[in-house]
Symmetry: C2
Subunit: 211 residues, 2 copies
């Protein structure tokens, strides 16, 4: 944490447990990556995955965002999980449960030697167990992919959880108060239109769906 | 759309249907709001709601982000829904279904006269039907809340959907390919620890949970 990642508002929500940061990243499919061009910020969703002490960001050589990231432009990477609605006894105290991680820094281009392990890590994160089934990427595919690593040494983690915090004068209210959890889950797999007959859904997908 | 919201990469994903933009916003609880301070971007999750032709963003007077937004600093507001995993027959073609909306512009402070209707719209969006039960906010609560409206006249909407796009030479593969939908749903409501006995879960919450 540095002065610029310090939480000025609601400092009690700031969390310094590295396991919480790790857990936020481990559940992320996308991060929002922000860069600034001539003072105008742009924030876009990008597929992400943990890779050693850094966060991989995956995109295309042709995108403006990745060109800027590859040039080392200052960026901000934010991951957010909204985990519940907090139904308090007033609008003012109603809020959400969430966990978010904001990282500041500049991306570094993955070296040629690291590129295949990095792509493998990305696939394994987003599609667990699938890399063992998939063929190796071709040279052309590897060359056409941009992958950068973003540092995680300047981060701010916020966790909002707990009970509705109602004012004393609202405690006589007849209104229901509590938490409504938000769940993210996988639905039933839908075979590709051109899937060859007789190819079953792999067992590992059943375990993702079951959660 | 303007030059700066044009999708340079994957232009086929750009979507100009206002109903799609509306639908992305209607399902959003939070947006990622990015600003730039001395060339360093910051992106943070913020509760949001549609309000006439604009997007409401809700925060605190005390936050750096909201101070900057209230000063009219150039900002980017991005909403993303990740809707599925696309399991192709190669890592390279594996991807995600998503819908995202990026809006560029400067927020405007909600006028005193608009503040209560705007707060009401925010509560009604995040907690449908609940405003009819909740007491009116006090003057103090209204004053302590910052709410800004963000323009939606310079937006870029991207929709990635459809089938896995595999290369011809992968079509003989024995690997399962298809879509794994991602669902966001509410779990069972958890009463507040200090809820007075005998207050039932309101019927409208059952309808949220049932989806």
């Amino acid at each position: 944490m540095s002065e610029r990642t310090e939480v000025h508002r609601s400092p009690h929500k700031q969390n310094h447990d590295p396991e919480v940061a790790k857990s936020i990243i481990s559940r992320a499919l996308v991060a929002h990556v922000a860069i600034s061009v001539d003072g105008q910020p742009f924030a876009l969703p990008v597929a992400c995955a943990p890779f050693k002490d850094e966060l991989l960001l995956h995109g295309s050589n042709a995108s403006r965002l990745f060109k800027a990231l590859m040039d080392g432009t200052p960026a901000c990477v934010t991951i957010t999980h909204v985990e519940g609605l907090v139904l308090a006894r007033s609008s003012y105290e109603s809020s959400m449960h969430y966990q978010s991680l904001m990282a500041l820094g500049s991306a570094r281009l993955i070296s040629e030697g690291e590129k295949r392990p990095a792509l493998q890590a990305l696939t394994a994160h987003l599609f667990p167990q699938r890399p063992s089934e998939l063929r190796q990427s071709t040279e052309q595919e590897v060359n056409a992919t941009s992958i950068v690593a973003f540092p995680l040494n300047e981060i701010s983690v916020k966790v909002s959880h707990g009970q509705p915090k109602d004012k004393d004068f609202d405690m006589d209210s007849d209104i229901w108060a509590g938490i409504l959890p938000i769940k993210v889950s996988y639905g039933q797999p839908i075979p590709a239109d051109n899937l060859r007959p007789g190819i079953p859904v792999p067992d590992y997908i059943a375990t993702w769906v079951a959660g």
